[in-house]
């Protein structure tokens, strides 16, 4: 799975983000291969979420290059980047509370996004089946008709993962997917993410090291906006620098 002269889909080179003199990202470079599952860990303030913001167009890098396949992401806005095939799940589950779980999934469904296309949109039986299939995968079949606002925190995490699946992206950026989940749900999530990777690339930001171990993939450790270590979970857990800044504390 790891590295090498494979088929890079996401490519960050020398990316720095400076907010009022504070370097949230400091000359960060990162390559994610097509079909790869990658975990990103690091202490609070290491720049994990800023990295996601840069990739999804929310934040512009001060310097550096961000490419997705042949596209220069630093020139595109959020909607254009999402349309290219990059989906994002937020640290705090974010969806549309006034709409039902079904409608949330329907909005995420890959389809033309213009106002007139949305006006003419008819829910086809195939799309309905797809939504129901995703709902089953995320365990929300019985809650499809409920407004997202009344779902529990864990269910909202699932719903947002479901929305990500509906978008059918090539690259999924998943920010702390198992916060607030039970152990069993965490296991289920790890299995789901492992299954998704392969067809798509998945980048997971997580604090929970047990969960990262369950993902069984290459791990990148960020610290103070730069890469500190990279390799298998055992490799990074035994890396003295990592122990010093992160695990040892």
């Amino acid at each position: 799975m790891s590295g090498g002269a494979g088929n890079p889909i996401l490519y960050l080179d020398g990316v720095s983000v400076v907010f009022d003199g504070f370097r949230a990202l400091n000359d960060l470079s990162l390559i994610v291969e097509a079909g790869e599952l990658r975990a990103i860990i690091g202490p609070n303030g290491a720049g994990k979420t800023t990295m996601m913001d840069v990739i999804t167009g929310k934040t512009r890098p001060s310097t550096g290059m961000v490419r997705f396949r042949e596209h220069d992401l630093t020139r595109l806005d959020e909607a254009a980047i999402a349309t290219l095939g990059i989906g994002r799940k937020f640290q705090k589950p974010t969806m549309f509370d006034a709409l039902t779980a079904f409608e949330n999934l329907e909005l995420a469904c890959k389809a033309p996004r213009g106002p007139l296309a949305c006006l003419r949109w008819v829910l086809s039986p195939a799309t309905r089946r797809r939504i129901e299939g995703v709902a089953e995968e995320i365990g929300l079949t019985s809650r499809l008709g409920d407004r997202a606002g009344v779902l529990s925190h864990g269910q909202r995490q699932w719903l947002e993962i479901g929305m990500l699946l509906m978008q059918d992206p090539e690259l999924l950026l998943v920010d702390e997917p198992v916060a607030g989940m039970t152990d069993q749900e965490t296991e289920h999530t790890a299995a789901l993410l492992r299954r998704i990777a392969g067809e798509r690339s998945v980048v997971v930001v997580e604090h929970d090291l047990e969960f990262v171990r369950a993902l069984g993939c290459k791990v990148t450790v960020l610290c103070e906006g730069a890469m500190l270590s990279e390799g298998s979970i055992d490799h990074v857990q035994n890396d003295p620098r990592v122990i010093e800044v992160y695990l040892g504390r």
Binding site: T56, K58, D77, E78, A79, A82, T83, G87, R88, F90, T94, M95, F96, D97, A98, L99, T100, F102, E103, E106, L107, A108, R113, G114, P115, L116, C118, L119, R120, W121, L123, L144, G145, D146, M163, Q167
Partner: protein
Amino acid sequence: MTPAETPTPERGTARLAFRLLLMAAILSLAMLPVLNQLPVDSALHVSDFIVSIGGKWITYAVLALAIDLAWGYAGILSLGHGAFFALGGYAMGMHLMRLIGTRGVYGHPVLPDFMVFLGYKELPWYWLGFEYLPYAMLMAMVVPGLLALIIGFLAFRSRITGVYLSIITQAMTYALMLAFFRNDMGFGGNNGFTDFKELLGMPLQTANARAVLYYASLALLLVSLLLCWRITASKLGRVLVAIRDAESRVRFLGYDVTQHKLFVFVLSAMIAGLAGALYVPQVGIINPGEFSPGNSIEAVIWVAVGGRGSLIGAILGAFSVNALKTWLTTVAPDLWLFALGGLFVAVTLFLPRGLIGLFRGEKRA
């Protein structure tokens, strides 16, 4: 058509009752001009006053509908929708002025009185074509639509939302008011347009003309309502609600939020413009006062009182607040602004879903 929408019997009955009530309301509105034709001593006779005020309120209801589409669904709180209404009104006013012809005080065959008075030698270019009603109606949509397109494009592209957008729209209507007050704009200055004679060959002061304008307004209300329903029931409606509640999240799903907001804002301005165009011949005057910021704010209060995010609620709000206004400005004119302010505060505190929330018995905050 989500699975949970399989209606329970109670919900089905409530929905049926609501629809019957709605049909009854539309039918009774449609009957007013007919009842006006009955002999004055008949118990069912409806006075001229009621018909003309009814027609005026219906155009207000269309304005409320337009505001609700933008605010209640897409979360665009425009405090300048009165400007779109007034621009539509001016377009119709120009047509009515052209129809006066030689019946003006100065008897000039082409130029309206105020232009003769100001020493115009010929009609300004932007007055050309307004002698034709279809052109005037088209302009009543196109001009507000273009203004909304420009303001909306600049604001939405720069991601100006919330109170900042409200302030910009408020400034827009205020600036237009000041501009239209100027005599050299060629729109009659502070007197605006009045003394209209006829429309479609009918003298305006007749019961016939009143009925025609009334029905035209009612038709506009129904068509706008159906159009808004079509939009809000579609996926576009759900995208708008999503933009209202979590705009940036919608972008990360790949929707171009600027496009969607522009679409609904321009459409809303066009509907408001048409409402203004039907309003002017029924009240017989249009002047820059229609651009006053207070008008736009009052229209937003109609929607808040009726229930934002509910199309029927917006219409209900326009009717009920204006009924209250008509009554109160007769009984105790000084109290009206206090009542309006108090109403807004009370609705915000106690009826966040507006009057329609009472009918539907829902308690969604």
